[in-house]
């Protein structure tokens, strides 16, 4: 998988993960994980629940640090960055939280304006222009005066998206952007992701389970399980891959490499029948 990408930092890969190993609560989440996220493309990361997809995003943004390995983002090794450098980097990364994470104290307008107010001294007129443009892009200019509690889940996610693109970032990380959305809202978000990628050239990383949706937008898919990349490629190749992982994951089979049973002792022993098989 790494044959096409060399070690030069300024090549086509915007995010480059090398040998990432993370242990959380005694459980090995990543085991020498390697991954490259190409510039200007939409990359989807898929995998069974609990394999650490969200954790991987947190490594990219420096919210978590692995026990070993490197995470290069735009030529900077994230785990080694100082706090100030990290904050500088984060200003160029948009992050869409699973539950939108809008600031409940502020209305929609102020939520989108929040990063601008914190990091710039722009005049009010300019802030207003930028915010309304971004809200227009997600189709919610009319909702500028609403409070987050008055928004539906889909609207809240679009507001959060507007907030994460307010600085025109180089990279947007979407953490489960489709969860809990009705088909209409799902398609709206899907359309936004594609538009943002195509019109602004923003590199996008998607963590999601919705295979149909991902097939429509993703340029590249990583399937991770047991702390390693088990399959990768464009949507078509990966669907035809035929490995046990892809078969179980995309076929939705209950049992396979991902066991149905959570690891446990012998059932017979648990039920109190010593010496007998379950």
């Amino acid at each position: 998988m790494t044959d096409s990408v060399s070690a030069k930092p300024d090549d086509s890969a915007l995010v480059r993960v090398r040998g990432l190993t993370t242990v959380l609560n005694g459980k090995k989440v990543f085991d020498a994980l390697d991954m490259d996220i190409p510039r200007g493309k939409i990359t989807a990361i898929m995998g069974p629940s609990g394999t650490g997809k969200t954790t991987l995003l947190k490594h990219i943004t420096g919210q978590m640090r692995g026990s070993a390995g490197e995470v290069w983002v735009d030529g900077q090794n994230v785990p080694k960055l100082s706090r100030d450098k990290l904050f500088e980097l984060r200003e160029r990364i948009g992050y869409l939280f699973q539950n939108s994470a809008l600031l409940t104290d502020f209305d929609v307008f102020e939520n989108v304006a929040f990063p601008l107010r914190q990091h710039t001294q722009l005049p009010e007129v300019l802030i207003r222009n930028i915010v309304l443009t971004k809200l227009q892009a997600v189709g919610l200019r009319g909702a500028a005066g609403l409070m987050p509690s008055e928004l539906s889940g889909g609207m809240a996610r679009r507001v959060a998206l507007a907030r994460s693109i307010v600085f025109d970032p180089m990279l947007i990380l979407y953490d489960e952007p489709f969860v809990g959305l009705d088909p209409i809202a799902l398609n709206q978000v899907l359309k936004l992701i594609r538009t943002l990628n195509q019109t602004l050239g923003i590199t996008s990383v998607l963590v999601a389970h919705e295979l149909e949706a991902i097939k429509q937008v993703a340029d590249h898919i990583y399937l991770i399980a047991n702390g390693k990349v088990v399959a990768q490629g464009d949507p078509k190749t990966i669907a035809d891959d035929g490995s046990p992982w892809t078969r179980q994951f995309f076929g939705g089979e209950a049992d396979g490499p991902v066991p149905f049973q959570y690891p446990a002792g012998d059932l017979g022993v648990s039920l109190g029948f010593p010496g007998r098989g379950a």
């Binding site: 502020f106 209305d107 307008f109 102020e110």
Partner: protein
């Protein structure tokens, strides 16, 4: 900011309110409120005893505040306290032969300097001295004149019983001291109402050491101080015979109720003032 005014105004109001309250507490409810503002002049007075007088205590004329005590220092070489009084310039007509006295406001209150005007035509000037002063009356001294020093009964090695009858024991309780010349010689053993004679029978237990008490001695119920507990005082008589166990003291003086005392004083005072005062007529009439 779009929602700036809503909370900014409220927060500002809150801060102003808080500081107003602080200013109010600090200036209106504390001794700062008593500090005289405006110009004042200083007058000296020398007292033999200032009692509990403190700096910033009020200076009053006819009960009205005219200034405050500025400083209290002991005169070097003399046994008098040099008190400087700061008096408001408004009250510049104080005669120079006025008398400065240290009074106590109420029985438990703070002390202040009262000035009683003299007859001189000359007013005391800034830096002048009020030569006529009266020192503070010590409540303890006054009371000490009436009652001897207090003190509780010693452990009784052995005692004998004496009875006394009172028409009124006031708030006398069992265990109260029995004193002679202010020294505790025993304690009250029981206080009982006599159903036949309709008075109080008090049993006194007196230490054997004090067996030389004449049998015509008088017993009285006294109060230690103004709000203190009551005790039985024994005033020795002149009889050659001594009290024995089981004897009874015939001469007794019942507890004086402070209300009675004050009442008598007030009534006699008012009736002597004006005989035709309609309110006191009933009282004086009943006395005749």
């Amino acid at each position: 900011m779009s929602q700036r005014p809503s909370y900014a105004v409220g927060t500002g109001l809150f801060i102003v309110l808080g500081f107003t309250a602080l200013g109010y507490l600090a200036t209106q409810t504390t001794s700062v409120a008593n500090t005289s503002r405006g110009p004042s002049y200083t007058v000296e007075a020398h007292f033999a005893n200032i009692g509990q007088l403190k700096e910033r205590a009020p200076v009053k004329v006819a009960g009205v505040r005219v200034g405050q005590v500025q400083s209290i220092v002991l005169d070097p070489g003399k046994e008098t306290a040099d008190v400087k009084l700061a008096i408001d310039n408004r009250y510049s007509q104080i005669p120079d032969d006025s008398v400065a006295t240290i009074f106590t406001s109420g029985l438990l209150g703070d002390q202040y300097v009262g000035i009683q005007y003299g007859n001189s035509k000359k007013a005391v000037a800034d830096g002048g001295t009020l030569a006529l002063t009266r020192p503070a009356q010590q409540l303890e001294e006054m009371l000490g004149k009436f009652f001897g020093a207090g003190g509780s009964a010693d452990n009784l090695s052995g005692s004998y019983q004496v009875k006394a009858r009172f028409t009124n024991v006031g708030a006398l309780s069992v265990g109260a001291p029995v004193k002679m010349a202010g020294v505790a010689i025993g304690s009250v053993q029981s206080v009982k109402a006599d159903p036949v004679k309709l008075d109080a029978e008090v049993a006194l237990s007196i230490d054997k050491k004090y067996s030389q008490i004449p049998d015509d001695s008088a017993a009285a119920v006294f109060t230690s101080g103004l709000i203190g507990t009551q005790y039985v005082a024994i005033q020795p008589g002149g009889s050659p015979d001594m009290l024995k166990d089981g004897d009874e003291l015939v001469l007794t003086q019942s507890a004086l109720q402070i209300e009675d005392l004050i009442g008598k004083f007030l009534v006699s005072g008012s009736s002597s003032d004006k005989k035709d005062a309609s309110s006191s007529k009933a009282d004086t009439g009943s006395k005749h």
